[in-house]
């Protein structure tokens, strides 16, 4: 696809956002107003800006990533605007900031390429783990953690001299940093890790000391589970580890070991923690726990059910009734107002994005870039799977944002960083 077609699609995605806003205003009885134009300008300007960066610094990059990212962001934005116009105003800023961060990533790597990240991998690991632990800082400090909905994954910073408070989720950025570390670690160790030393039945077992990383992954995931009570992040982190080990070695053994460890961990967690127990019960029998733990799941199911094939129409449903409708449960709100058709459009968008991401990985020539592209794609795919599974009641609900669609600046910044890295890798593959 040419750059021209890419700009065309970016403008089209901006139109999707602007049209959605226009429809929401129309259902309130207002004709075209400034919000529509503003939305169009923000979308076209932000993603168009990233495209200019791509043309300037990574001219060989895939032209498919940006249109998909802007499309998903646009659908999410429309639903956020419909539910809470004030949040949407903040989200517009987040989109601009996230695109700036994406541009910044492209600019920083313009001469060195992603290879430079290998050199700083331990720095990235420490920063990543530090970010993960940041929410545990005591409440009395200037930079402190905060517990929201029972999970401790927010960090609040009081801006000096004022009463303003900035809050963000460092875990979102941490997952990207840790993926970069894993890619560079595995690029060096994968060969040794895939050597088979013995066989037990049909399973080929690599040398035991290479199992270290799997246990570290399980341990890290468990620490997050215990101290931050964040099921989603814990599952996501563990999933990324196992999937990347599999990408790097091609040994199903790692997947089996991962599944066994995860099941054991999940069972132990179920026995030990009542917040896990409540989630599982709400999953198995949400209607029986309608008044407490199952309420969100049930409201999500009612919303999606009432949406039917084409939905109630944007602005005509009742997504307000779903708790966390702009963040974790945005998919339910979309399915209610845009129906199965709109929900499938979102899923198609994710599928295409993942297909392009893996395409970049397959075509990259060296291991590091291959694992990095594959790993970053898995971050998005897995995160979407975990939260969509929760909303659709295929999995217990574990709070995670839906990439690109959910309200939230940290999440958007992390996702645009991923897109920028994928763009960079796809550029280097063609050099």
């Amino acid at each position: 696809m040419t750059r021209r077609a890419e700009s065309g699609l970016i403008v089209a995605a901006a139109l999707v956002a602007a049209m959605g806003v226009a429809i929401v205003e129309f259902t309130k009885g207002n004709w075209l107003d400034a919000q529509v134009a503003l939305t169009f300008l923000v979308f076209a300007g932000s993603f168009g800006g990233v495209q200019l960066g791509v043309i300037r610094w990574t001219s060989g990059a895939s032209s498919l990533l940006l249109p998909i990212a802007s499309f998903l962001t646009a659908i999410g934005f429309v639903e956020i605007y419909r539910i809470n116009p004030d949040a949407a105003a903040v989200q517009r800023w987040s989109i601009m900031v996230a695109c700036l961060v994406g541009l910044l990533v492209l600019w920083v790597l313009r001469d060195t390429g992603v290879a430079v990240l290998r050199r700083y991998r331990y720095v990235l690991l420490f920063v990543g783990v530090g970010f993960l632990l940041l929410p545990l800082l005591p409440e009395t400090w200037a930079i402190h953690g905060a517990t929201v909905n029972g999970s401790r994954l927010w960090v609040r910073v009081t801006v000096p001299g004022t009463a303003r408070v900035l809050s963000f989720q460092p875990g979102e950025i941490a997952k990207v940093l840790i993926t970069v570390f894993l890619a560079s670690y595995l690029a060096e160790r994968a060969e040794a890790m895939s050597v088979v030393v013995r066989k037990i039945g049909p399973f080929k077992i690599p040398e035991p000391r290479h199992l270290g990383p799997v246990f570290i992954a399980a341990g890290a995931a468990f620490v997050i589970l215990i101290y931050q009570k964040d099921l989603g992040a814990s599952l996501l982190l563990f999933g990324i580890f196992v999937a990347m080990l599999y990408i790097a070695t091609g040994r199903t053994f790692y997947v089996i070991a991962g599944v066994v460890l995860a099941s054991a961990g999940a069972f132990a967690a179920y026995q030990t923690f009542d917040h896990v127990q409540r989630r599982v019960q709400a999953w198995l029998d949400p209607f029986g726990h309608f008044s407490d733990a199952g309420y969100q799941t049930v409201q999500g199911l009612f919303a999606m059910g009432s949406g039917a094939l084409t939905g109630s129409g944007i602005g005509l449903g009742r997504p307000h009734l779903i708790p966390a409708a702009t963040t974790d449960f945005i998919f339910a709100a979309i399915a209610e107002e845009m129906g199965l058709a709109g929900a499938l459009a979102v899923l198609a968008g994710f599928s295409l994005l993942v297909a392009v991401g893996f395409g970049v990985a397959i075509r990259s020539r060296d291991r590091f870039r291959k694992y990095l592209a594959g790993g970053l794609t898995i971050v998005i795919a897995l995160q979407a799977l975990i939260i969509l599974g929760g909303v659709l009641r295929l999995l217990p609900i574990t709070g995670l944002t839906l990439p690109f669609l959910s309200y939230g600046g940290s999440s958007l910044i992390a996702n645009l960083t991923i897109v920028a890295l994928l763009l960079r890798i796809s550029h280097e593959e063609r050099l």
């Binding site: 696809m1 959605g20 429809i23 498919l64 998909i68 129409g313 845009m338 058709a341 075509r363 593959e429």
Partner: protein, 137 residues
């Protein structure tokens, strides 16, 4: 008729979403497929399909490589039942022709030996994919 009107708007909006996705999917198809304009000089090695059901093909190996497989979107399509959709990638790295198995089910064999990591080959070597034999010339 406000209800009908809203319904039409709703359907038009959904149509817009799917038009967008359709355009994207078309672009992805051509992205996965071959890219004939990108031939450049360099190593003049050629890849020749010797046996198999596909009509005998002969292509000059281009720097960004060719994906060989059963999929209609592969750069070099072979209609071999033992081949995976995207089976092997043959490309040029540091001036050498490199064969890279893309995680195929039945494996890629260079001169009869199965290869799992990127392997450099030279002229006269054969690459076997399923029942199809290709030669580097």
């Amino acid at each position: 008729m406000p209800a009908l009107f809203f319904n039409i708007i709703k359907l038009l909006y959904l149509l817009m979403l799917f038009l967008f996705l359709w355009q994207l999917a078309r672009a992805i198809r051509s992205h996965v497929g071959s890219n004939p304009g990108a031939q450049t000089e360099g190593t003049a090695a050629e890849l020749v399909v010797l046996t198999g059901d596909s009509e005998t093909e002969r292509v000059r190996i281009r720097p960004q490589g060719h994906v060989i497989g059963r999929s209609p979107d592969a750069d070099i399509r072979i209609s071999d039942p033992y081949s995976s959709e995207f089976h092997t990638r043959v490309g040029i790295q540091d001036g050498q022709v490199v064969v890279h198995d893309l995680g195929s089910t039945n494996g890629t064999y260079v001169n009869g030996r199965r290869v799992t990591s990127p392997t450099s080959v030279s002229r006269g070597d054969t690459v076997q994919i399923g029942k199809t034999i290709l030669e580097i010339r």
